[in-house]
Subunit: 133 residues, 2 copies
DNA sequence: ACACTTATTTAGAATCATTATAAACTACGA
DNA sequence: TCGTAGTTTATAATGATTCTAAATAAGTGT
């Protein structure tokens, strides 16, 4: 039941009814989660009686991603996956069930990148562990 | 100048003119490389006078992937990226130039995955290091 | 070489996630 | 309350990928 009005304003985003509703679906949860745009659209339908245009869902997700409230997960899928966990973290990807699972940082030993590229700095280091039966 | 006829036959793939040409473009190289379907199509045009249908390029890449001669790289892009380096290895991804760079195994320290999922086994462990200016 | 079967190629259509458009609506400061 | 810039929305456009079904080629047995 967080109030997102000020948070949005402080980010330079107007707190519209649609954005507030999407915030509730995305961030008023015990745990972080992974989703596609279509899954998010469904969650919005389930949680609210209000219809939000698909274009607005895309717009909002992209706006939130730009502000750092969401991030994309690099995975080969027909649809783009997003993550409400924006901390640096790793994933299991279950190939049979096509499901993503968060790894805690303590689940993966420290990773040392020994090579450097001139003029570039490391923004993130992410591990994807593929699982099969 | 490898002859791919037997290799294809041994994989249960008929050595057609199109597949042999695509093999030459993909595998007759000093170094392995990354490509999208469109980039591959262009390379084929450049290297041969023969026109290969786009559908055949897709079919062939998927057939080769299934046989383990190519693999997909998990990256967020409009187009799917493939890799002729099918060994387990890691990548730099230059966010500014949108370019993939292979990391040698010696460039990354050993990675220990401490968590296990019941009934699942690890198929691969891949690191994606994002770079920015 | 010939006939037969099955795999492959191909042009074009279909699919579908995503993005663009442009008009209506809304938040918000003056 | 006005004016403006930001936002929403239905709808169209885009473009990568997949599907279709007819033509062609490869493999097999004779
Ligand atoms: Mn894809
Ligand atoms: Mn995408
Ligand atoms: Zn995650
Ligand atoms: Zn690679």
């Amino acid at each position: 039941m967080t109030n997102y009005t000020e948070k949005l304003r402080n980010s330079g985003l107007r707190p519209t009814k649609q954005r507030l509703q999407i915030c509730e679906v995305l961030f008023d949860t015990e745990k972080t989660f992974h989703f596609t745009i279509n899954e998010l659209e469904q969650k919005i339908k389930d949680k609210t009686n209000n219809k939000i245009s698909l274009a607005t869902v895309y717009n909002t997700v992209h706006a939130f991603e730009k502000k750092g409230y969401l991030k994309q997960i690099p995975i080969n899928s027909d649809q783009t996956y997003f993550d409400t966990n924006v901390t640096d973290h790793h994933h299991f990807y279950d190939l049979n069930e096509e499901k993503l699972i968060d790894l805690e940082n303590s689940d993966v030993g420290p990773i040392s990148i020994k090579r450097k590229i001139n003029g570039k700095k490391i923004k993130s280091v992410e591990v994807l562990v593929k699982l099969e039966d």
